[in-house]
């Protein structure tokens, strides 16, 4: 009887082992299946990332916000006229610019940035760059003309510490042509060059300048260039000089002999003086148009003036990046003084200056909330006989701006 019981126990034990083994095998099969599924997913992801011949990506930036504006215009001998506006952004402070980059190979890059500024859809740049050799990039197409640092490097909303742009830095803008650029070591130092040959500028009947566009207005071309030196090994200081020459008159017009020379200088200093990150930037531009006679308006006689303009800005911003407090280290305060003087006795002559005060909060490295208060003062030096308006214009503006790079 005892033997029979032992036999029963042995059979039951064997069944238990078989059931346990079967269960373990089922669990293992399920685990294997899960791993295989994950492996398949990963393989698909790797296949999606596999380098092919096409390396396309979309980045870009957007900026929007609110501006409260008070403009006071005081004509000679008259009381001031005040105009107030509140609006969600305007053409200067609203932008959506997706940036399309296509790396054709490790030597060829295509860049295209369309832009909507609230009133029109345009193109900021569309060019192709060939990385020909160390320190030599060759580009062609529609690109920012190398002159100073503001337009090419600092104007983007997520980079600019203040909501608006300093006045007078629109030229030479963006143009069609070819260019060479590069950065090279020089012992402890570093230097860079950026030169271009483009269609150039066009002189308008009132003496102002604009880009000629894709079809040039004359046979001459514009040569422009910037050279910079970074004298310290940590690249904290960059000093640049720029120059430009362009034929500007329309072919066959009375401005045939007109040409433009521009000169510029810029400085960029960024250094962490623990716990504060100090950021100082500045630029000076001078535009000289050769002496011309301009057609009078409304039967007024032709007139002439010294067509020289200048613009400058100096900016400082401070950010306690070394602070322990997370909120504090994301705060940045900024101040910019800018001046812009246009030719006296032209219809658009004025001497103006502007002070901008800003407080920024960085949500991350490429997302910022800005609050900027701006005070500008302009005294007209216009030629009233030709339709220019004399008087003093003061503008106070408060900007609340959000900007992100994506």
């Amino acid at each position: 009887m005892k033997r029979f019981h032992n036999l029963i126990y042995a059979v039951l034990g064997l069944c238990g082992l078989l059931v346990t083994a079967s269960s373990a095998r089922a669990q293992q099969t399920a685990a294997d299946s899960s791993v295989l599924d994950r492996l398949t997913t990963l393989e698909q992801q790797v296949a999606d990332q596999k380098p092919g011949e096409s390396h396309f990506m979309v980045a870009g930036l957007t900026t929007f916000g609110f501006v409260s504006n008070k403009t006071t215009f005081t004509a000679p001998g008259a009381a001031g006229q005040i105009m107030r506006t509140n609006s969600f952004g305007d053409a200067d402070h609203y932008e959506l610019s997706p940036m399309l980059l296509w790396r054709h190979s490790n030597n060829l890059l295509v860049e295209f940035e369309p832009s909507f500024d609230g009133s029109s859809l345009g193109v900021n740049w569309a060019n192709v760059t060939y990385f020909a050799a160390p320190g030599l990039q060759i580009r062609g197409g529609y690109f920012v003309v190398p002159f100073g640092i503001y337009n090419k490097r600092l104007a983007a909303g997520w980079i600019d510490k203040l909501a608006g742009d300093p006045n007078g830095f629109d030229l030479p803008g963006t143009d069609f042509g070819i260019g060479l650029s590069g950065g090279l070591p020089l012992g402890d130092m570093k230097w860079s060059y950026d030169v271009s040959l483009t269609n150039g500028l066009q002189l308008l009947p009132d003496g102002e300048l604009q880009n000629a566009g894709i079809v040039d207005n004359n046979k001459g071309k514009m040569i422009s260039g910037r050279f910079s030196l970074l004298p310290f090994s940590n690249s904290c200081l960059e000093i640049g000089v720029s120059a430009l020459h362009s034929n500007a008159g329309d072919a066959g017009s009375s401005f045939t002999t007109a040409n433009v020379n521009m000169y510029g200088a810029d400085i960029n200093f960024v250094k962490s003086l623990d716990p504060i990150l100090v950021n100082i930037k500045g630029q000076y531009n001078r535009i000289e148009v050769s002496r011309q006679t301009y057609p009078g308006q409304n039967d007024a006689p032709d007139y002439s003036f010294s067509n020289v303009s200048s613009a400058a800005f100096a900016q400082i911003s401070l950010r306690p990046t070394g602070a322990d407090d997370k909120f504090l280290k994301n705060i940045e305060v900024a101040y910019r003084y800018s001046s812009y003087n246009t030719p006296a006795n032209s219809t658009w002559g004025a001497n103006s200056h502007q002070n901008d005060f800003g407080v920024d909060y960085w949500l991350n490295w490429r997302t910022v909330l800005k609050c900027t208060y701006s005070l500008s003062h302009a005294v007209s030096t216009a030629n009233a006989d030709q339709g220019g308006t004399l008087g003093i214009t003061n503008v106070n503006a408060l900007y609340l701006q959000f900007s992100v790079e994506f």
Partner: protein, 91 residues
């Protein structure tokens, strides 16, 4: 005649610039201290010249290569700086 002179000056200037560049290309060299800099150090020094230093997590490995080329055309980084910074951001 004056116009032709100006154009001639322009082309002479451009040719001169190119000549100088070709000469300088051959003579430029970085010293050992600069050559020894890490990608992280170059990232910290160069990116903040214009904007905040980017997070490596912002773009994929492949995208960083493209961004590196784009930034080289904007900020005139040297080739070694670009390569080291991109390698650092890809980690």
């Amino acid at each position: 005649m004056k116009r032709k002179n100006i154009q001639a000056k322009m082309w002479i200037t451009m040719t001169g610039v190119l000549t100088v560049l070709l000469i300088v290309f051959g003579s430029c060299a970085e010293n050992q201290k600069i050559a020894a800099k890490s990608g992280a150090q170059l990232w910290a020094e160069n990116c903040q010249r214009c904007h905040n230093t980017p997070s490596p997590a912002s773009f994929s490995h492949s995208q960083w290569v493209t961004i590196g080329m784009h930034m080289q055309t904007r900020a005139q980084l040297t080739d070694k700086e670009r390569d080291k910074i991109v390698a650092f951001l890809q980690q």
